[in-house]
Amino acid sequence: MPGKVAEKKAAAPTLAGITVQRRLSQLPRQSIIAGFRDEDQDLGNMPDLLDEGLRAVRPDDQLKLTDAELNEEHTRILTARNPNAAENIVRFSYKERTFKPIPQVDQLAVHFQLDGNLIHRDSEEGKRQLIRDAGEHAAEEAEAPVAVVQEIAKEGDDDDEDKVKKPATTGGKGKKLTNQFNFSERASQTYNNPCRDRETFVEQTPRVVFSDNVSQWSIFDAYNEDFDQQQKAKEKEHKKIGAKKDDERKKKFVVTEQSGDDMAKLARSKSASISLKILERMINQNTFDDIAQDFKYWEDAADEYREQEGSLLPLWVFQYELAKKLACTNLAWNTFYTDLFAVSFGSYDFLKQSRGMFLIYSLKNPSFPENIFFADTGVMCLDFHPNHPNLLCSGFYDGSVAVYNIAEENKRPKYQSTARNGKHTDPVWQVRWQKDDLDGNLNFYSISSDGRIVCWTLVKSDLMYSDVVQLKLEKPATESDEGVSLTTLGCGTCFDFNKQQDYLFIVGTEEGKIHKCSKSYNNQYLDTFYAHNMAVYAVRWNTFHSKIFISCSADWTVKVWDINFKDPLFVYDLGSAVGDAAWAPYSSTVFAACTADGKVFVFDLNVNKYEPLAEQIIVQKKRTKLTHIAFNQHFPIILAGDDRGNITSVKLSPNLRKKPKAKKGQEVADGSEFEIAKLDKILALIRDPDDAKTKPTQGQQSTTAAANTNSGDPEQELTRILTTENPHGSKNLVMFSNRDKQFVPLGNLEQLIIHYSYEGNLIPIDSEEAKIYLQNEKNHKNRILPTALLDTYKTKEKTSIEIKTSNENVEPVHQIGEEDEQQTVTSEITEQSEFNELIDDSKTILKVDNLLSIEKPKKLLNRFNFCEQGIQTYTSTKKEVITQTDPIIRQKFVGLANQRIIYQEYMIDYEKQQKNKDKGKQKVSYGSNKSVVEKQLVKTDRLKPETIVKRHQVQILKGIERVLNQNRYQELIYSTA
């Protein structure tokens, strides 16, 4: 429609368009359409109407009526009722549950409605508009025919002015007066928007073909990540409210963290450092594979053939470049991680004091320490806390002590003593953690050569100290009265706390004395032992027995003591200054010591009381002093540190960690009680029974009295009196006597102890029993019993005869039975092994007699207690078993040929060709002795396919086995230490 209008209006001046547009904009759209219709009517009717006044217009098709008809009156009554309105509309009323008629119906009917858009000329509005238009006349001159109507245009331009001036007379030919509120001109001019092409060139977005598989775990990961992020966001919100400052600081930190290249990022990534560590350990595992295998599986096979001897197998040597010129001053295994240990380095030379350090090593990485801590002075000692494996206390040469948290990144001490709070004035020789005090604070003890033993307590961030004991020297007897006596303090070098009695501890001094002290008496020793002639280097309580301890000294000796006795139980001279001695954690009778000539000694009192089971040089260079030694709690290895910064680990052979064989019919009692009993048994052998009564009282009387008994005489304890009295037999047994109606002491007690009994299954050849047997055999000769090796036979025979002689010698008391009697005596002999020498003499004589009397090397068997070694087993009947398996699915396989496969194919082909060639060659060259060549060929051919494959498989199996073994040993590899 607008298009049509535009056509019609084409001739009209553009100015008119503007005004029209303005007006148009004032009108609502509906009326525009209405107005358009009006104008159509105007075109047809208006000129007539205006020309001929208000004459009725008669259309052509109008019915023609006569006047009479026209004048006929029709009476019509107008009512307000609409005849077409429905009267019977009903609606269901829910209230009354019936249909109800609606009484009032709308009576209004609208047949036609038209909003006019013209206003009357005489009306107020009209007048106003006329005035206004007149004002604008000059501008509107050219566009007089406002309504763009063709007829108006035809009438010519000349009339326009008149028409406008005399609109009343000309009858509306001039300007139309429009209803402001409801008017629309039809004409509208629109711009045709010119079309323009606009082009921009952009860089092509990079495209990448991306392919990935989505698996369950990746979804799982994504979810987890999302969850974590949400969690983090939540936390952040919490934090934001709390502290904004903190956040800012963090931001800064993050910013700095993001800078740097890939390697720096890698260094910061925690997981990357862990995997780097794993990698290093794995390479170490490969490099030290043979040692690791030895560590786990090597058992000296020779130990089976020797009784009282063992050996030490050197394993890893721990070296660190910066510690090379320092001496190892202490070794401590971690209490939680069995493969972790700490080594402190310093110097024992007074003139060559320099820096110090301590290293944390793991057996899993022997080539480099896990952690390195540097100190300005020598580190003389350290100790891991038993319950907090990350806490390590250490003592320094300058007298200070410190506590480190080795898990922390910064390598500064957590606590450190200063000159103000009770620092020692001399080197600290030993530190040891103690049980938490009553307030639950951690505390440890230190000993120094300034004569003080100090208890350090960790209270929040402070290190509190309290002197426990001051080592006072006894005044010399020949003290002059002149002048004031100078109180001097002894120099403590080592101490150890009793494992059962918390308060009790022993202190070794540079003067060679050992003091028995208590935490509760700080000015008095409970006891003093004049133990050594030179400085005591180490004192250690037995792992199991609460009364036994060991001490070692620069005077070349190691001594084992009972806390209640003034004299040592055992004294060993090791031929060089003994740096350290330690009890084994697995046995109460085993201890090890290391000396300044580079030897490690291992003793087992249970096996040999006089000689070490193993004595071995383990240092690599001559004149290297071993300074310290430490047993691992878990593995059968010992660490030994020397004065050149090396730590050597050695493995104990089976003989050195042997447990005594279980007696027949008696269960092996494991644990500490058994170990205590074992040690007690040995001690009982060497202790004088009288001594046991007198000594303890004497010991506690006074220290001066004890000075008379000269200590350190190894010969003294070797003299022993054998009595028939059993020292362990209880002497005060009572029994209730029914006759006397009271308890009566038992007079005769059995004094016999059976330490070992073995029921033989052979009988002496000249016994009654044997004679009958031999007789029988002579007669029948049908069956020869399995004869043992000549050797064993002989020895057996020997012992049986010894028994006889000893029987006569000792005491023919028990006459129980033919064989039983002999066995009991055997046991007696083993118990009183001192008789051995005596018996040995008689043995040699009797042996000769015996050899003459024996003709047949035949065993005579004890009928009552004999078992042939042949064992009959059941052979299970064979059954054929058929299992049905699913048919193997055949599938077409499509593979990608990559370089490797092609290479393989070529190789196979090439080998075939080569073979053929060889065959041809051989045929040609050895044509004459063809049969030999063929034979060879056959032989090699037969070897090839099966045996080689077999060998190959065996190799693979071996490889797998090795890896499995490795894994067993390395089971802890992933627990990050």
Binding site: N213, S215, Q216, W217, S218, F220, D221, D262, M263, A264, K265, L266, A267, R268, S269, S271, A272, S273, I274, S275, L276, K277, I278, L279, E280, M282, I283, N284, N286, T287, D289, S367, F368, G959, V963, Y974
Partner: protein, 99 residues
């Protein structure tokens, strides 16, 4: 760990008996540190990365809460030790003993 420590560790690794070289690749398979020559590095980075991804996928498929930490392959000529990590994968080539 500081970067110096990482460098030290790598140096120690390099000095071990039989170690032919190491390389570290990031999660995109791009080598960021290598002691091998360029072509070999490229090859190892590309091939080992896909292998370790596959291996990790295998482990995770079996138990999503599990994680691959380390694997090694023993070959006729050398052993390849691989420590795949979320961001970085470390690879070391170590010659196997002649025995």
């Amino acid at each position: 760990m500081t970067q110096a420590e990482v460098d030290d560790t790598l140096k120690r690794i390099q000095e071990h008996k039989g170690v032919q070289g190491y390389l570290i690749i990031n999660s995109d398979g791009i080598p960021i540190r290598s002691s091998l020559d360029a072509s070999v590095t490229q090859q190892y980075a590309a091939l080992i990365k896909s292998l370790s991804d596959k291996a990790r996928s295998t482990i995770r498929e079996m138990d999503p809460s599990n994680e691959l930490l380390f694997f090694r392959m023993r070959t006729k000529k050398h052993e390849i030790l691989v420590a795949p990590d979320k961001e970085y994968t470390m690879i070391v080539l170590q010659a196997t003993d002649a025995s």
